[in-house]
Amino acid sequence: KNDTAAPAATKAAEATKAPETKSSKKIILITPEKIGVNPFFAQEDEGVKKAGKEFGVDVKTVESTDASAIEQNLRAAVADNYDLIITSSFESEDALKKVAAENPKKSFAIIDTVVDLPNVRSVVFREHEAAYLLGAAAGLATKKNVVGMVAAVDIPLIKKYTVGFQEGLKSTNPNAKFIVNYVGSFTDPAKAKELALTQFSQGADFIAAASAVGDLGVFEAAKEKGFYTSGQDIDRTVTDPEHIVLSQLKGTDSVAYQTVKDFVNGTFKFGAVDYGLKEDGVGLTFVTKESKSKLSPFIGQDVVTKVKAIKDDIVAGKVTVPNPLK
């Protein structure tokens, strides 16, 4: 329930040791896996690169091949004297805990999870809030009262998406049937597509995609069979607005950009920062952020208005979306 990470946030204030604003800084981003398969890391990479260009700092991205490579890359980055070492995701948690504790003079940042150390800035998202909105919208929009979701793997992290979605769906349409299927892999669009087709044959008219690379398969199924779907992380509606009618957003790029910017400008703070709907770190197209594409009639302005109201309630604290991981 305690998803705002308040204790860490207070600690942030005392650690305002801002480095000098010189452009001779070296910043490195170490992703815990190959960027290839994950738009999440691609965005981080983009954000860091963009900031690097804008603020004239040296930035480099290193991809780790596997979990044990993360620690090695972190240590190598320390050895190579990078001024700020950014990494991300729960997979890097253990490695960063070790390396950051051993190098208290170095500055670190980690995106999407918390490492509670004085020289680490942690940024986390409350994806379940956005998933709740998506589910709410699906509940309002569905005509057949059957809604599906194709998720990647049955691991705790994904629960933020599936459970959040289900809660939202229940809140607006308690009678809707919810089907969730797991692909069992992050990189299997063929199977994801089959799952979507199966859910469609079971009567679903809206099938949310949350299967990483597999999402592409779900989109294709939607186009083929004419049902509606939604994307993840970035605004996916632009690729096929007719079928991809919504997108659950996660601002990793802006967070990465912001982190570099803060570091260069000397406004960098250690401690945990928590991004939800309120902080505009997560969101939903049309509801929290406009989109270049046209709103699908399946959703309709009416639904958007209603979901906007739900969003306001969450921001205002009138509705709390529980963190499924707690």
Binding site: T65, D66, Q72, A76, F90, D112, V114, I155, L325
Partner: protein
């Protein structure tokens, strides 16, 4: 010893192979417009460049050595154990569970965790052996299938009942093992841990066992010709279970050591993603199932991997191509290497399923 000419030939051949492999890699580098000398220099640096990177390579080699030793025992006895991955997973999971939930003093827990890993990995492997001995199920298929089952089962445990609910709780993993049960690090600030010592000691012991013990003799003869072994009074069923147990036990130990020495918990995918088991199998095949050779081959493979990371960090060569170079090197090193062994296996029939 008398045959020094042959020995030099045996040494020369892999050396030439490495050279050709490097040449092949060089072509790949040139094709993508990189600098050969720089790339190889970075590769060397990443693998052996200084003490830190050197120990890093040895750390990486540790589970490969153990898995490789395990595969080589089974292989020597004439069985192709492709199930190291599943055995390693279960070994890792078990050791994490014991370290987390067993009562008792720390040192006792550490030993219990290591032994538990060995036992469970061994049983999982012996199970496949039993299916072969009892039901004549093809060992290669069963061990492959059991990998998937083990991985999914372990995945379930850490995603639900054993899940770490502290921290972000986003990952399917157990809680972290208490510091008192960690395998000691060998050097301050380096990742190398006592597991490496265990691996080396076991490699030497296994070498002595296979070469000089009576049981080792029986294992070798069983592998050479099971009928000859049966004729000489070797009990195939029993020895099969024993060698498969030992084989899986080594894999289980590899998993346990990775948990207690490196990650300090079991995380879903920590064994599968780095491909430890496949590298271990390769190390065995590269060395013709010789325990000491397996150790050397494992270090070589680990060096290629850590060297590849070095290339990725310090050159513009993309990560993808470093895995290409790695595979090219391996391919050429294997060429004409463990040839005789395979030829014998080919007739063995228990692998290729030609009617």
């Amino acid at each position: 010893m008398l045959n020094w000419k042959g020995n030099i030939g045996a040494l020369l051949q892999p050396l030439i192979a490495v050279c050709i492999g490097l040449l092949g890699g060089a072509i790949a580098i040139v094709l993508i417009g990189g600098s050969i000398s720089d790339t190889y220099a970075q590769m060397w640096k990443g693998a052996f460049g200084n003490f830190y990177f050197f120990t890093n390579t040895l750390t990486r080699a540790t589970p490969l050595i153990l898995v490789g030793l395990g595969v080589s025992i089974a292989f020597r006895a004439g069985f192709f154990n492709m199930g190291s991955e599943g055995q390693m997973i279960l070994g890792a999971l078990t050791s994490a569970m014991i370290a987390l939930y067993f009562p008792g003093p720390a040192l006792f827990k550490l030993f219990a965790a290591l032994l538990g890993g060995i036992a469970v990995g061994g049983i999982w492997s012996a199970f496949a052996g039993w299916l072969d001995a009892r039901f004549k199920m093809n060992l290669i298929v069963t061990t492959l299938l059991l990998n998937y089952i083990a991985a999914l089962f372990a995945g379930y445990l850490v995603a639900y009942p054993l899940k770490d609910k502290t921290g972000s709780a986003a990952l399917a993993q157990t809680m972290m093992v208490d510091k008192s049960i960690w395998l000691p690090k060998l050097f301050q600030g380096m990742s190398m841990h006592a597991g490496f010592i265990i691996a080396i000691v076991l490699a030497v012991l296994l070498f002595l066992f296979i070469k000089y013990s009576a049981a080792g003799y029986e294992i070798r003869m069983l592998g050479y010709n099971p009928l000859f072994a049966a004729y000489g009074g070797v009990n195939r069923g029993k020895l099969m279970l024993a060698s498969m147990f030992a084989s899986g036990g080594f894999a289980g130990l590899a998993g346990a050591v990775e948990v207690l020495g490196m990650q300090y918990r079991y995380t879903d995918g920590m064994i599968t993603n780095p491909g430890f088991a496949w590298s271990g199998i390769m190390a065995t095949l590269l060395s013709g199932a010789h325990p000491l050779g397996t150790t050397v081959a494992a270090v070589l493979l680990a060096a290629l991997q850590t060297g590849g990371m070095g290339v990725e960090r310090n050159t513009s060569i993309p990560l993808e191509i470093s895995s290409v170079i790695q595979s090219l090197l391996i391919l050429f090193v294997t060429a004409k290497f463990s040839y005789t062994l395979w030829k014998r296996r080919k007739g063995g029939g228990s692998d290729a399923a030609s009617s």
